[in-house]
């Protein structure tokens, strides 16, 4: 039970982070004025 909950929750968190990073790469203005862009 403990492993099921840990692994499933970690999976959900990972998916949420990957979706967020995907949206960031597609939509964000990634110019960083202080480091001259990425």
């Amino acid at each position: 039970m403990a492993w099921d909950i840990i692994l499933t929750s970690f999976g959900v968190i990972l998916v949420l982070m990957l979706i967020a990073q995907g949206l960031y790469f597609v939509f964000a203005d990634k110019r960083d004025p202080e480091s001259g862009g990425e």
Binding site: M1, I5, I6, V12, I13, L16, M17, A20, D32
Partner: protein
């Protein structure tokens, strides 16, 4: 035994806080003149670990520690939507709102609102934000008292006062850099303690450990769900409202964005997501496992949701691990207490003291007023916390105050700016929020059970959008800059 645990934990917290606080204060004294806003924004030079763990621990407070144990009783493992909401919020902060405020080079969220809309919007949001954050400080102070009480039997008000004093020391010696360094230590202690607790409880459980816990719950007629996702009913009834309340309100609040403003660069913020989100998100996972274990044992389950899990931890774990776990829980709440007092005092010192009463104030003056604010707000919160209702009752109302500010920020940056429209939207949302909590309005309109955050988010959106569509406005600042 409990007295020994209590002494060890308080001594540990005091020694760590004093050593780190004095050390950081000395470092900052040597750097005097080389950086700006040292006390409130760590000289805008925080690296990835400090940003990530400060963000993670700022939004990991009393509700996580005490509330999750209790909420698991009602919802089972799907209570983890509370955690996923925090993960979504941290993604929004590190990849969007945090980067926006970092790029604008502002010290407070309301400071941006003056350049976008006008002084009235700045003051209105600043005052509401100070009030909402102050509410959270009182919840954290009460959380400290309840935690000490459940794990050691200490009276709640004494625990709240001692915890509050530790919370003040956590920030008042050296400001944000002190908080961030202490958070790095506390994050390590927290995970070591939680993982060891889950392992030790696993060995102490009767039968086949956690497998037996699962069998007991599955066999029970109304047993808790063991799925960390749950069914559609749970997602709609609990998951979505909690995402809206937490992800939207906290992603525009000074208490989270002050750390983002203090990051070394935008890249620092983007990278910190990979640490902040899992560190925050996984905390409740371990808490839920421990609560499910306590629920499966009649000798603890009979004591009720408020104390069963903590009683199980104190009675089944060795003393040294109980002490480590209490230290971890106290550290988690202290970090939130410290960051919220710093954020609300920064708002007062920057948006009210400096903007209205002393525009020539230098950094030394602002730091002095911030320090005084920290002590005054912290002491007031300790006093109020003794008179407050149970922690969870206040959270829905408090969080809902900040949800309409999300639209103010987004419209001011990316769409149109009309001060009258946003003020009307804010006031409509705030009045409705209070009516929703303190009158029979929800029942009267047939919407009992609808979360406050839905009401404030929607009413703010409708009034501001209609106001701007009808009366127009100047282009948003980012839109203007990109044109």
């Amino acid at each position: 035994m409990k007295q020994g645990i209590l002494t060890a934990v308080i001594a540990y917290e005091l020694i760590t806080i004093m050593l780190v606080g004095i050390w950081v204060a000395r470092i900052q004294a040597r750097r005097k003149g080389q950086e700006s806003e040292t006390f409130t924004h760590a000289g805008h030079g925080l690296p990835v670990p400090a940003v990530a763990l400060t963000l993670a621990l700022t939004v990991l407070g009393a509700v996580h520690v005490i509330g999750v144990f209790e909420m698991t009783w009602g919802l089972g493992a799907p209570v983890l939507w509370f955690s996923y909401a925090h993960v979504i919020m941290l993604c929004i902060i590190t990849l969007a709102t945090g980067r926006w405020v970092r790029r604008l080079k502002i010290s407070t969220v309301p400071q941006f609102l003056e350049s976008a809309f006008g002084l009235e919007t700045r003051l209105l949001v600043s005052c509401a934000m100070i009030g909402a954050i102050f509410g959270i400080i009182t919840l954290e102070a009460q959380g400290l008292g309840v935690l000490f009480y459940t794990m050691t039997g200490w009276p709640i008000y004494i625990g709240g006062i001692v915890g509050g004093v530790l919370g003040l020391l956590y920030v008042v010696l050296a400001g944000l850099r002190e908080i961030s360094f202490l958070n790095i230590i506390n994050a390590v202690v927290m995970y070591v303690a939680l993982i060891l607790a889950v392992i030790f409880i696993g060995f102490a459980l009767p039968g086949d450990g956690y497998n037996t816990v699962a069998q007991i719950h599955r066999a029970a007629e109304n047993g808790p769900s063991l799925s960390p996702i749950g069914d559609v009913g749970v997602i709609v009834g609990f998951g979505l409202p909690v995402i809206l309340a937490i992800a939207i309100s906290q992603s525009v609040s000074q208490m989270t964005l002050q750390t983002a403003m203090s990051a070394k660069s935008e890249k620092t913020l983007v990278r910190s997501m990979w640490i902040a989100a899992p560190v925050n998100g996984m905390f409740a996972v371990f808490a839920v496992i421990l609560a499910l274990a306590a629920m499966s044992m009649p000798e603890f389950a009979d004591r009720g949701p408020k104390v069963a899990t903590t009683d199980m931890l104190v009675e089944l774990l060795p003393s040294w691990l109980s002490a480590l776990l209490l230290a971890a829980f106290v550290g988690v709440i202290l970090s939130t207490f410290a960051m919220t007092t710093l954020a609300s005092s920064t708002l007062f010192a920057t948006d009210i003291y400096k903007r209205l009463f002393n525009q020539n104030a230098d950094e030394k003056d602002v730091t002095r007023v911030t320090r005084i604010g920290i002590v005054v707000l912290g002491v007031l919160a300790m006093g109020v916390s003794v008179l407050m209702p149970p922690i969870l009752n206040g959270v829905a109302w408090l969080l809902a105050w900040m949800t309409p500010v999300f639209w103010v920020l987004v419209y001011g940056l990316f769409w149109k700016r009309n001060q009258n429209a946003v003020i009307a939207g804010l006031l409509a949302a705030w009045v409705l929020n209070s009516l929703w909590s303190y009158t029979g309005l929800p029942t009267w309109v047939g919407m009992a059970g609808v979360h406050n955050a839905y009401v404030t988010f929607t009413s703010g959106f409708v009034v501001m959008t209609l106001g701007i569509l009808i009366f127009g406005g100047k282009p948003g600042l980012m839109k203007q800059a990109m044109a």
